[in-house]
Symmetry: none
């Protein structure tokens, strides 16, 4: 490149300002130009790449990934565990982290909605005792009468206990045998009130469930194997508060969902802060569905999953704007 004296002064200004830490007026004085010119040169220097301002990637790799996910998914905050090699299994740390995060999110007087699942129960179990004032914990879905160990009401009550909060259970089963019965029950005042109360929550805690033969919904008896296979053909991809969603995160219009007593998805989305916790790596597809459904605003997951998500969203971005791929 030819020697352009015009660039020289831009370089000089950048050097004095960024490397030497002089103020703009000092730089101006030193170079015998106005401070306004210095400001202009500095902008040019940044734009031309003479000055590089970057946030560290390697030192804070996890944080970096979290920030990128927040941006890509439009989330409030993302927390990641793993990568650092501190524990053998990063997933094991998820409930601990999620419990801390959740505790920090609960403010006095909050109304908190809690869904159900292995992970939610593990979080409850890992949660420290805190004495919040005036907190109410409500269920986001109906109950399961089965003796299965992680019952929705247990999650709710355990979390309420840890928070020194009032726990309110749904006075209805999760799944009924007929659509008519479910519809009728939903209109019962006491149930209606509980369902309506969901959208007035300040905070929600839930996971997304998978739909495999050893999934939670199957093992707890809510859903039979043959029905599972039929639903999967219809596009069933994941489970949110007991209800089945398709790959787009939309409520799957099926007999099973219609027989369910659980939070209306719009009611869930009306809750301002919604913490999603994903522990198992198998939940990738369901998580994508949940993302599409915009079910959550805060996310706790492993860095492995985070990496897959970033890769996935990048790939999608390139699909849409292939020109950028080469840049």
């Amino acid at each position: 490149m030819a020697y352009r004296p015009a660039d020289q002064i831009v370089h000089k200004a950048a050097w004095l300002y960024y490397t030497h830490g002089l103020r703009q007026d000092e730089v101006a004085q030193r170079l015998n130009i106005s401070r306004a010119s210095v400001a202009l040169y500095l902008r040019r220097a940044r734009e031309a790449g003479i000055v590089n301002i970057s946030t560290s990637t390697q030192l804070f790799r996890k944080d970096m990934m979290a920030r990128r996910l927040e941006d890509a998914l439009g989330l409030e905050t993302v927390w990641l565990v793993g990568e650092e090699g501190l524990t053998q299994d990063p997933a094991a740390e998820i409930p601990t982290l999620a419990a801390s995060v959740f505790l920090e999110m609960v403010k006095n007087g909050d109304r908190v909605g809690v869904a159900w699942g292995r992970t939610v129960y593990a979080i409850a179990d890992a949660m420290a005792y805190a004495d919040r004032q005036g907190v109410t914990v409500v269920e986001l879905c109906g109950n399961l009468g089965s003796p299965y160990s992680y019952r929705p009401d247990q999650c709710t009550m355990e979390i309420a206990r840890r928070l020194n909060a009032r726990g309110l259970n749904f006075y209805a089963p999760l799944v009924l045998s007929t659509e008519e019965l479910a519809r009728a029950l939903r209109e019962e005042p006491v149930v209606r009130e509980q369902l309506d109360g969901i959208s007035s929550c300040d905070l929600a805690l839930f996971t997304v469930g998978t739909l495999d033969e050893d999934s939670h919904v199957i093992k707890c008896g809510a859903l039979g194997l043959e029905e599972l296979h039929r639903l999967k053909k219809q596009g069933a991809t994941g489970v949110i508060a007991g209800q089945i969603i398709d790959a787009e995160g939309a409520w799957l219009d099926c007999d099973y969902n219609r027989r369910m007593i659980s939070a209306d998805f719009d009611a869930i989305r009306a809750i301002p802060r919604r913490l999603m916790v994903v522990q198992e790596d198998e939940k990738f597809e369901p998580l994508l569905a949940a993302i599409n459904g915009r079910f959550f605003t805060h996310l706790v997951l492993t860095s492995g999953m985070a990496a897959r998500l970033i890769e996935h969203t990048d790939a999608r971005a390139n699909e849409h704007e292939p020109a950028k791929a080469t840049a």
Copy 2:
């Protein structure tokens, strides 16, 4: 450590401010903290190296003198400080510039050899935090056990820290009391391996030392005064990685050098990019010796020294081809 919300918010603030270009008040609003806190976090982020601001060193090589020196000495690149009246003492800027230049030279995956000296330590100190990947920093010479403030291993480790690199120290002293011991130690597998690893470096950073009564080698106790005088009579002119060279840049065959554990000169010369930094004007003669020894490929020095060098090489050229002097 598992979950440090303190770091998280600092990183997030830095991300929003520097990567997203939000204003401090916007960041504060987003994070629900005061703007004053944002300003504080950003300062911490800069200090902790979460944010890197670096300026191109182009300015310092766009100089005619630098070009002439490159040609005259057959060097890759020369950077000059001074002349522009930017600072009162040009020498004071040498470490800053050298640090920038050096940072620009270090690529991911590089193996970097670092020698020792006041200047090298000053460079380490002035160096910005950067997050290179897979960089290894090795010592070019043995260690000094003395409590003198600029120890070789400190240089190495500090530079490694700044680069987010792995630092490897020599497991041997710089000078031993007998030649036999030095020879034996050199053949120790662990030391041998370290010595052999020098030639596989991609980049080296070092200075040339003087041999006066207040020189570094004397002050740190490696060399005694009487020995110094004896060696100077033998032609000792400068110091490279602890070892003494004569005016031609050749290894001085003396007891002192033979008692030393340090990089073989051919190993040093096998490193493709070798940055020499000369801060003090007193180092003119040693620098000439180092030039003769072809110890370096890149050079950072003051324009005052550069002028003397050009004058010197011109004079020598005229000696050899006086006819050209009149042309």
